[in-house]
Symmetry: C2
Subunit: 414 residues, 2 copies
């Protein structure tokens, strides 16, 4: 189990013990995101390393318990998380003009998104910290996954979603038994209200933006990808960026794998934001570690974040990796959704935003023709049927049950 | 690769070579469903058996290529199918009053349903048979999975769906690039029209009802379940029943595993139909191998089949196994959907119908308190958000972004 030695503020560098602080740095306030620090030497001394990993038959993300902030003996949720497939799509590689294109399909997680990695860890942590009630502000996926894991662990869940959350995600929340508040306003409004409610009412706040443990769950995406690609590490790992927590988590996982010698080199991180919610791209271009909040507006609801909280971790991950941040339009996102589906994988808009980013980076020469790329497809397309209908270039034809009607329709379509 | 020796009619027993017949028995007509017969001895002589399976690192359902009707060297679709998780839900076992309750979550397949096993095999077979165009009548899942695998293999897909197909499934079909005909009428109307179009226009018909190879794909669900439970085989394997193809396929897979000594005993099969589409339950009760068609009407769209074509295979599978067929109401189905979600797994109505059946069989004493049960949960709940909203016993609360509004809502909910 995880050997956490400290929680370290990414802004001021101060260190705290786990029992000293719940969310962010007391000195820096909400912008003082904490990073969980482990005693890697102690882990190594205890035998953690490539051999132990290779010998572990567990294919879920709990195989990385040694690198998670979970105390020994914690009750884990019974529904398997992680162990998602990573596979090549040669035709898509050809279309994008790269030598290899891999998809890591995170839509195969229990509630259909990458967020299951974070929520499962946060839910276990909530119980460990003595909370019986959890809450979360989310554009949808973090919330539905928190609701799913709360159901498994017997926690009560209160969820704050903005008005634009897709119907499928609301349905998930309700059937998992969460209490759902649809907040009249933006994601930022929902986020602020959730924080206030958590503080006032004594709930545990899983909002990835400030929760230091959620990102540790996301880290398992990087650990898993790295293990799956060990010995053939790609040149680029691509991921859509909203709050910044996902790209930072994956990067941290990859670095840990290199630290322990499971992989011998690191990829470059390619982060893609939607043009309608791209404050981190602005910061990236300016070279600053600061960004102005924007009024978020994009079809990719899961990354429709106007005020990213984990921006610092995200910017540093991209810079450390020698990577890049790009932005793409909603039209590009919907086109990427159709493109990926034409190769048999159905992702939600935020799940394919990074794919549009790869295409753009390829056009502009940031990604070269001989490079090998993995895209982390973060959510199932079934989570947002309405956007899929926008992305598809066709409509169903309603016909009478007769062969003549079929033939007439085929004729008309010529 | 599969050593197919014959296609054998389940009704008259006549045998055909693979190149003699495409769908059903020429003597018996549409009711003469064919069963694919393999040369198990030759497979064994070639070294197929428990050791070879155990040594196979492939976790997708293509690990069973030896038992599939696919010629050597066939191009396989790149998106992984199968390898779905099987896990225990102890709290659900307690609620249902059985000693162990396992879920095999087929919603983790690439297009979100068990049908991916059948469609992937049928799509490969279509290419092998020289077809460039495939078609399918389906209440939704078979169609969306066929569309997904057609996209991967470069096949053109024409899909016939009845009017009641959920929005999410239509969205999947369209984004995968299929041409979709919404047939004004029942599933039966869509089915008949698809058959007529296939014959007239020279398309390959994947409709599970008559396609002898689709069920071979479904067989891998049984092969996988059996391998996962080897040495601890459950007393019952539960599955929802519409056309009958799924329960028959799973049973065939289990029998093959026993034939090759991978498992040493077989479970009993518990098949559950929705009351609004339960002709096979009527046949089961009467002890006949015949059934009258009914006007199907149930919330469980994927098993809303009024005229089952694979009824004979299904009835025989249940009888051979010492199992039982039961029926449950739509209210029981929706209650089961909420029940399973309360334990963290979100299934579509047809995916949980068998769970309602387990509860009923437990109440009536058909399933005993000391028995161990596996339920094959055949489809993701994200495929039908509208039904989930019906199943959930709660609604979201729309609030202003203020703590006062949260507190007022909590107060009102007491």
């Amino acid at each position: 189990m995880g050997q956490v030695t400290a929680l370290e503020c990414v802004r001021c560098g101060r260190s705290y013990r786990e029992d000293e602080v719940l969310y962010t740095c007391p000195s820096c306030g909400p912008s003082g995101i904490l990073d969980v620090v482990y005693d890697y030497e102690a882990l190594e001394a205890n035998g953690f390393g490539p051999e132990r990993l290779a010998a572990n038959p567990d294919r879920t993300h709990w195989r990385y318990l040694d690198l998670l902030p979970i105390a020994p003996g914690a009750a884990l949720p019974p529904v398997p998380v992680g162990g998602t497939p990573l596979f090549q799509l040669p035709d898509l590689a050809e279309r994008l003009g790269v030598v290899e294109m891999w998809i890591k399909d995170e839509g195969r997680n229990p509630t259909g998104s990458f967020k299951d990695r974070a929520s499962s860890v946060a839910a276990v942590k909530a119980r460990q910290l003595g909370f019986q009630t959890v809450c979360c502000a989310s554009t949808g996926n973090a919330a539905s996954s928190l609701a799913g894991f709360s159901a498994q662990l017997g926690l009560t869940a209160f969820i704050f979603v903005p008005e634009f959350a897709p119907e499928e995600k609301i349905a998930q929340l309700l059937i998992f038994g969460a209490t759902v508040f649809v907040v009249k306003g933006s994601y930022l409004d929902a986020y602020e209200l959730c924080s206030e409610a958590a503080t006032t009412l004594g709930w545990y706040n899983r909002s990835a933006a400030i929760n230091p443990y959620a990102i540790e769950g996301k880290k398992t995406g990087g650990l898993e990808l790295g293990e799956q690609m060990a010995g053939r590490m790609p040149d680029w790992v691509s991921v859509s960026v909203g709050d910044g927590c996902t790209i930072a988590g994956i990067w941290k996982g990859l670095k840990e794998l290199r630290r322990f010698g499971v992989i011998d080199r690191l990829p470059r991180m390619l982060g893609t934001q939607a043009k309608g919610a791209a404050p981190l791209v602005q910061a990236w271009r300016s070279g600053e570690e600061q960004w102005a909040s924007v009024e978020a507006n994009t079809v990719a609801d899961s990354i429709s974040v106007g005020q990213p909280r984990n921006g610092l971790k995200a910017l540093r991950a991209v810079r450390e990796s020698g990577g890049v941040l790009v932005e793409v339009s909603d039209d590009q996102i919907l086109a990427a959704e159709a493109d990926l589906a034409a190769h048999g994988v159905f992702g939600e808009p935020a799940g394919v935003t990074g794919l549009a980013g790869i295409q753009q980076a390829r056009w502009s020469g940031l990604v070269g023709p001989d490079e090998r790329v993995v895209h982390v497809m973060t959510g199932s397309g079934l989570k947002d049927a309405a956007s899929a209908r926008r992305a598809a270039d066709r409509e169903p034809t309603v016909i009478e049950p007769s062969l003549g009607a079929v033939q007439a329709a085929l004729e008309a379509a010529r």
